[in-house]
Subunit: 333 residues, 2 copies
């Protein structure tokens, strides 16, 4: 639907996490990312070639993807000049921001004049039902985190990839803009109207054959007061058979909430599992995914071994180590 | 904002619970309800005079309020004829349904032709912020239920009324269409976009003087898989100092979910309190409100005494008995 390959726009990202949309595309669809475009003050770097719009066009890029998220999702004036020029130079634009491309009069006008398209992947394109809670066939696994942005999507993408490598029956189900930009479809859950959140997740993960696993992309955290309602809807709408606990061990406080400490993995386990069993009494926690990107190799392996012993569950960093052990644990259910 | 008094439209309500919007207006603003209008097959009865549109107009009614909820919020063709006639006879229309009056072309056309207004109280009229989780001044109490429609709104309205009678500083904060139709303002929380739910609750219950209590209207249930995300956002956005557990003891299964049993009050307590303490570590459960409408007096009193002994908390039916004991428990915090 969105023409590829992409030039990834990192804007004036205040830190690497702010560019997680672009990072996700680069990590999971590297063939689709020809380069990055950064503005002055940008604190993110994907390790892709820095390109001007003209250079990226010459390298074949079809779409400029806004790969950076601002709190509240505002398209700043600093960005506007680049986006207008991109349309004029022949790019489509794609974005998962709350602030829609189509709602910016100047962008809409230039897009119409140049015949380019504005792809707002955040906008739900479906009238979702209210959740009915009925048991669905097939299997589902959901990653739940101690915080936002701790690696839930990576965990699901890595487990899906590992299962596909083994010839198993598996789908990644995107619930956020990055996932949708990576896979081309999904539910932009944080833009769904409250009453329909759980129903949208049911719609996204329908009945399937008995040996099929849906890897549902997690959102937010039960312990993040800004977004916990979205997480709750995923747990009940997804009716997972298995949960993965996801954690980032170097975080000083909940993302964006300086007054809030992260919960322990034990607290996450003891909170998430009873809630999941409301929708699926057979649900089990099968493993722990740890984002050890901020740790050296020895420190990471030592931390994982300690968590595994403490929690009595396989613990792995699926990005650093692959998802084989987490998939083994899932299949052992 | 909405012209009063009202004629309450009960339509073809399949059961009394379906008319809870009308019941709420009749119970809490009886002076605003001149009568009820029922269609063939209506299973609800508020005990108000049954009136034709003409009779209600003669009695002074200014607005026909759709006081009945359908699953999914659809305006049926059966209703349409009455609504069109009402506009022609001089009524405004008010509704809290998902399916907006303004989106029905025939209603919009007749309203324009007759100069009448369509009041869709479900539509958010404010651009809500993302929740920041910062501690607010003043005090807040939230009712959380074992199920939907167990009396959470009644509990909050009754506690607010009791505090006002005592000359205390108190507000009812509406989060649903009935509450908004009763009080004239609030947040239609189940129509808010997911990312902004908790922020909308923060907006609804801002900083206040130290002795002021907000009685926040609850929604859904942590144990109702269709709506639990909305409940979660209320618990974290509301950052309540006190929770009331709400229960309806004769319910055979979760409302609308035949496969789901109600949780115990103990399970509700053990689930809701740790989640509330994420946002407000000082939160306490202060009492239990039981909707005993389906019980006789002796049975109700006996049940309440048993719950009180079992749970070690004051248990009362605020509609049957008033909210004095629940308010006492709140003020003892």
């Amino acid at each position: 639907m969105i023409p590829t390959p992409y030039l990834l726009f990192l804007g004036d990202a205040p830190d690497p996490l702010a560019a997680k949309v672009a990072q996700g595309i680069k990590d999971w669809r590297p063939d689709n990312a020809v380069g990055q475009l950064r503005l002055e003050g940008c604190k993110a770097d994907l390790g892709l070639p820095d390109m001007t719009l003209a250079e990226a066009r010459a390298a074949g890029a079809q779409t400029l993807v806004i790969g950076v998220a601002n709190r509240g999702g505002v398209i700043s004036q600093t960005w506007k000049k680049v986006l207008v020029t991109a349309l004029e130079e022949g790019f489509d634009l794609a974005s998962g921001l709350h602030n829609l491309l189509r709602d910016e009069e100047d962008l809409a006008a230039v897009a119409q004049a140049t015949g380019r398209r504005l792809h707002d992947v955040r906008v739900p394109s479906v009238k979702y039902p209210i959740a009915n809670g009925e048991k669905r066939t097939g299997k589902r696994v959901l990653a739940v985190g101690t915080d936002c942005s701790v690696g839930k999507m990576y965990t699901s993408l890595a487990m899906d990839l590992e299962m596909k490598k083994r010839g198993l029956n598996s789908s990644f189900r995107a619930t956020g803009q990055t996932g949708i930009l990576i896979t081309g479809n999904g539910v932009p859950l944080d833009a769904v109207v409250a009453d329909f959140m759980a129903g949208a997740v049911e719609w996204l993960t329908p009945d399937n054959v008995a040996d099929h696993w849906d890897h549902i992309e997690g959102q937010g955290s039960l312990f993040h007061v800004s977004y916990s309602g979205v997480t709750m809807a995923l747990i009940h709408g997804g009716q997972p058979d298995a949960l993965i606990l996801s954690h980032e061990p170097t975080r000083a406080h909940m993302r964006g909430l300086p007054g809030y400490a992260l919960p322990s993995l034990e607290a996450l386990r003891d909170t998430a599992l009873p809630l999941a069993r409301v929708a699926n009494p057979a649900c089990e926690i099968v493993g722990i995914s740890v984002n050890t990107a901020a740790m050296g190799e020895d420190e990471a392996l030592s931390y994982l071994a300690q968590v595994e012993a403490r929690m009595g569950l396989p613990a792995a960093d699926p990005f650093r180590q692959g998802a084989a052990r987490l998939v083994d644990a899932l299949l052992a259910l």
